[in-house]
């Protein structure tokens, strides 16, 4: 009977600790402001909240709104496709004021829920309507701004920042070859690569140089893709083969896969990395030595602005496009850049903003 007593004792102790906790834990959550607070809920895609990519960056915007605007914020993680709808319903059941969904795979569920709940506001990252998914005809679940005025699509002209990164990479390469690869060949990924290639070409035209881009060709609309957004091993082997082909700067557009490339560059010292989505000297600071620059897609700012607009009543449906002009995209400081290069990048930035330079 010894074990039985042991279990009983453990249970009694646990229940005592429990009741003690219960008293203190209940107090802060039962504040009287809770009832009237503006509620924001984020539904993640399959990568989860700590993917160091778009789910995490979007939630950084929610967290900032919680701190600065006093809204209530929470997230629900999706582990499979059927969770999207379920998580959105959960937030609707809690009378959430603004629901933020992350990723184009949530496009259908977001549109369906938004049509059924016109009083709730929605913002979806990396997707914009109208998009007639499924068999929908125009005017069904395509989600045009007039059809769903309560949905804001948040998209980003990352080709503009990619252009700057391409130019900086072309100016920094010692071997005359730079490379990029992606996770899957979809527009939200290859738009980085298109801008990157265009930036390199612009550098060649300006300087009479002949820097080559490996891993992407806009003319063929194809390039090197790992086929996933999670294998660090793939990131390592892609970087390794690009280095063997003579490249010394790599831009991995595949979320955490790129960390494998960064690890390879750090170990061998054979290459530099252009980070994507966030400033990698901050989000992956262990690789700071090999980060040339980062193409920043400021989803946190866009989400924060959407929350702010929804809270003060100025929320409008349609789509938001982050650009260099509105600060929605940009590049981080270029490591070791000469003052000449920085001046050239500033001039290009101005050129893209006023339209005299095409980013693709």
């Amino acid at each position: 009977m010894k074990k039985f007593y042991l279990v009983m004792v453990a249970l009694i102790v646990a229940s005592m600790v429990l009741t003690a906790c219960g008293g203190s834990a209940a107090a802060p959550s039962g504040g009287d402001t809770a009832a009237s607070a503006f509620k924001v809920g984020q539904v993640t895609d399959l990568g989860g909240i700590d993917d160091k990519s778009f789910n995490a960056t979007a939630y950084a915007g929610v967290e900032r709104a919680v701190k600065d605007l006093g809204v209530q914020g929470k997230y629900l993680e999706s582990t499979q496709q059927s969770d999207y709808g379920k998580n959105i319903q959960q937030l609707l059941g809690e009378k959430t004021d603004l629901i933020i969904t992350v990723g184009f795979l949530l496009g259908v569920d977001t549109a369906t829920a938004a049509k059924a709940n016109p009083d709730t506001k929605f913002a979806i990252v990396d997707y914009s309507y109208p998009d007639c998914f499924g068999d929908a005809k125009e005017g069904q679940t395509c989600g045009s701004a007039s059809e769903m005025p309560n949905v804001l699509g948040l998209t980003f002209a990352t080709d503009q920042a990619g252009f700057l990164a391409g130019y900086a990479a072309a100016a920094s390469t010692k071997t005359g070859k730079v490379a990029t690869f992606g996770g899957i060949n979809i527009p939200t990924v290859n738009i980085f690569m298109k801008g990157f290639q265009a930036g390199v070409k612009y550098y060649n035209a300006q300087k009479g140089a002949n820097v080559e881009v490996l891993g992407w060709d806009t003319a063929k609309d194809d390039g090197s893709f790992t086929g996933n957004f999670d294998s660090l091993d793939d990131g390592r082997s892609f970087a390794e083969s690009f280095v063997q082909e003579g490249a010394d700067i790599v831009m991995p557009v595949a979320g955490p896969v790129g960390l494998g490339s960064a690890a390879y560059c750090k170990e061998t010292g054979a290459c530099m990395i252009v980070g994507v989505d966030t400033d990698w000297t901050v989000s992956a600071s262990e690789y700071t030595d090999v980060i040339l620059t980062s193409v920043m897609k400021k989803m946190d700012n866009a989400v924060y602005d959407a929350i702010k607009a929804a809270k003060d009543g100025s929320f409008k449906g349609g789509s938001y496009v982050g650009t260099l002009a509105n600060g929605g995209v940009d590049i981080a400081a270029v490591k070791g850049a000469s003052s000449d290069l920085n001046a050239e990048l500033d001039a290009i930035r101005k050129g893209i903003i006023d339209g005299s330079i095409a980013a693709q």
Partner: protein, 396 residues
């Protein structure tokens, strides 16, 4: 390597029927209770309150009583069903999650009955879902009475084919089904990746299949957003048919005999090879039906991340349910309610959904090692003749 064994739910004992049932269910029930206690301790250690967490889990899986009262009172007074639908949503959603669990659990269970360990249910699930989706979206203009059965059949056939290959390799060449079903999983995953990016991709940029036609959808019974559909009843029907097949037919007896003792079954003139292939076909078909029910009843399209491991959880379900169809249904309902309530627990109590995986994992450990539970609760040990071999060791 030692054999994985659990007490058989045999009722032909001299003791009373209630005693026999308790002997059969005591370990699973206590394993679940112990799993929940361990989960509570983990929640406690992570600085949250287990009581409020489990409260949220409960209302998330069954619905909150207050919401039911409110829903019914609004319905009676004004005839509006919105609040009522919302009140029933959690309960129906738990049953929706249980549906593929039932099919997949049966798939692994029928394998265990024949001494085969089908780890390939996940791959068979994917193939079944893709076959159903293909029939669902590519055929147009058919009446539902033709289209829906065709789409379901396609899922079953796809899964059956994916199960038959390792079954045939086992029967013909003695290649171990564990290795081969795992390999078939990887082929299924990569094949579905390729299909979703290429031949089966919908127009537009998203790597997903087109939506299936309305005539291929499993009918839903309640207004949106309730996704509860005919699939749940099909799953129960499948469980009943499997029970009838295993315990009331000659072929079912043969399968169980091969599982219990293949050498004896061979001496009795039973065709071992045919039974191996047959069981893997049935197992694969059931796993394929799980995918079919999910795509035709719930999602209506297939994208990457279609399954969160139904096929792997199914192994636990078969163990928990003693490889008996009724036990599998109960186990699937339990997992459905756990998964169903997890969303609410995550949202209200801020407990990561991973805690549910921990509870499931603990339950599986306690089921796989019943001695822990027996020791913990001082249960009588199982008698030697009260054991049913689930899988044989390697190299047989």
């Amino acid at each position: 390597m030692s054999n994985l064994t659990v007490p058989a739910p045999s009722a032909e004992k001299k003791e009373s029927k209630i005693g026999a049932i308790w002997r059969a269910i005591s370990v699973p029930v206590l394993a679940v209770v112990t799993g929940l206690i361990v989960g509570a301790i983990v929640i406690l250690v992570s600085g949250e309150n287990p009581i409020s967490a489990y409260g949220a889990l409960f209302t998330g899986s069954f619905g909150s009583p207050a919401a039911y009262v409110e829903g019914f009172s609004i319905w009676f007074s004004s005839g509006q069903t919105g609040a009522l639908v919302r009140a029933f949503y959690p309960l129906t959603e738990s049953l929706v999650i249980a549906t593929p669990y039932i099919f997949a659990g049966l798939a692994v269970a029928v394998g265990f009955r024949c001494g085969l360990f089908n780890i390939g249910a996940e791959g068979q699930f994917f193939i079944g879902a893709l076959c159903s989706a293909f029939v669902g979206y590519s055929l147009r203009g058919l009446p539902m009475i033709v289209h829906l059965p065709l789409a379901i059949l396609a899922g079953a056939l796809g899964g059956a084919l994916w199960g038959a290959i390792p079954g045939y390799l086992k029967a013909k060449f003695g290649a171990h089904e564990v290795v081969n079903t795992i390999m078939m999983n990887w082929i299924a995953f990569r094949l579905s990746d390729w299909l979703l990016k290429g031949p089966m991709k919908a127009s537009g940029f998203r790597p997903v299949t087109p939506n299936i036609a309305a005539s291929a959808e499993l009918p839903r019974f309640f207004p949106d957003p309730i996704r509860f559909n005919l699939g749940f009843f099909l799953a129960l029907l499948a469980a009943y048919l499997l029970y009838w097949f295993l315990f009331k037919t000659t072929l079912g007896f043969e399968i169980r005999s091969v599982g219990a003792n293949p050498d004896a079954a061979k001496y009795a003139g039973m065709n071992i090879i045919r039974n191996f292939v047959l069981v893997m076909v049935i197992s694969g078909a059931l796993a394929g039906l799980a995918g079919a029910a999910q795509v035709l009843g719930v999602d209506h399209w297939v994208g990457q991340g279609f399954s969160a491991g139904y096929g792997f959880d199914a192994i636990a379900l078969a163990l928990l349910g003693h490889s008996h169809p009724a036990g599998v249904v109960l186990a699937a309902l339990l997992f459905g309610f756990l998964r169903g309530g997890a969303t609410n627990m995550q949202s209200i109590a801020r407990i990561p959904i991973d805690i549910i995986s921990i509870i499931q994992g603990m339950v599986i450990i306690f089921i796989a090692a019943p001695a822990i539970i027996r020791g913990l609760y001082r249960l009588r040990g199982a008698k030697d003749d009260d054991e049913a071999v689930l899988t044989r060791g390697w190299g047989k």
